[in-house]
């Protein structure tokens, strides 16, 4: 046994956990989801958008098994870590439900003319989806230590502003964030593949 046994065990565990997200696949998948949903909204095919995330999740799992696990390895984290991650996922899920309820409430308020008072010069509704999606991106950034997700949140918020001011279709505000995720994720994936070559 070496002296590394005296290293901060929490740091070792955290670094091991963070290394599992180095492949950039989560960025590519999240970016692809945003891009596709935005594209489907803009092209008036929004009825297909609920299928995007459920279809991409198995793609992500398969990609991790095929690309990442042979290079980074497989690890089963402790029960404490698993419980911690489950709570984070539950928090994100509850936020998603809350977002959905806000959207539904806004829709019904809009039908009764209540939201008109807030949208005289700026159509806040147009920028709302991107604005709401920026929040889980920020949460993921904090919860999983993935600071680049703050950049994606910023991209969504920045895109939401001109969409609201110019009263464009809300889907347009999702597309730049999606493209950013795909590009950054692809770059991370390329770096990951070079850093962890397949062993013979």
């Amino acid at each position: 046994m070496t002296a590394t046994g005296l290293s901060n065990l929490e740091q070792i565990e955290r670094r091991a956990y963070e290394s599992m997200w180095e492949d950039g696949l989560i960025d590519v998948m999240a970016g692809l989801a945003l891009f596709l949903i935005g594209f489907l909204w803009v092209t008036q095919d929004s009825m297909y958008s609920p299928f995007v995330a459920p279809l991409l999740v198995p793609v992500w799992i398969a990609a991790r098994r095929k690309i990442s696990e042979p290079r980074i390895g497989v690890v089963n984290f402790s029960a404490e870590r698993v419980a911690k991650e489950s709570k984070k996922l539950l928090g994100l899920f509850l936020f998603g439900v809350l977002t959905l309820l806000i959207g539904i409430a806004w829709f019904f308020l809009g039908r009764h003319g209540v939201t008109n008072l807030l949208t005289q010069d700026v159509n806040i509704v147009a920028g709302l989806p991107a604005g709401l999606l920026a929040i889980p991106a920020i949460i993921v950034g904090f919860a999983y230590g993935l600071r680049r997700f703050f950049g994606y949140a910023a991209a969504l918020l920045v895109a939401a502003v001109p969409v609201a001011i110019l009263d464009l279709h809300p889907g347009w505000a999702l597309i730049p964030g999606g493209v950013l995720g795909i590009v950054v994720g692809s770059g991370l994936l390329l770096r990951f593949v070079r850093k962890y070559p397949l062993s013979e």
Binding site: E10, S19, R65
Partner: protein, 80 residues
């Protein structure tokens, strides 16, 4: 041992990446630890790819805990 202590189990590739040791070094260390009863080794296949999973036994976790305490005590007795 530190890397195995903080997780339930990990495979050979993960340990190699985290410890930056060579494959030969890891094999050698794990063989000795397995012989001492500190590490459990499970070999399987994922598709056509062999996978070797390592996990600390209860004896191994206790031994590592004792080792940390011993070193900590020894270092705390050193003058500043």
């Amino acid at each position: 041992m530190s890397f195995l202590f903080v997780v339930e189990s990990a495979d050979f590739v993960f340990l190699k990446n985290q410890t930056k040791l060579t494959a030969g070094n890891i094999s050698s260390h794990m063989t000795k630890l397995e012989d001492a009863g500190y590490v459990k080794v499970k070999k399987s296949f994922v598709g056509k790819r062999p996978q070797t999973m390592f996990s600390l036994t209860a004896k191994g976790r206790k031994a590592f805990g004792n080792y940390r305490e011993s070193l900590h005590s020894a270092l705390s007795m050193l003058p500043d």
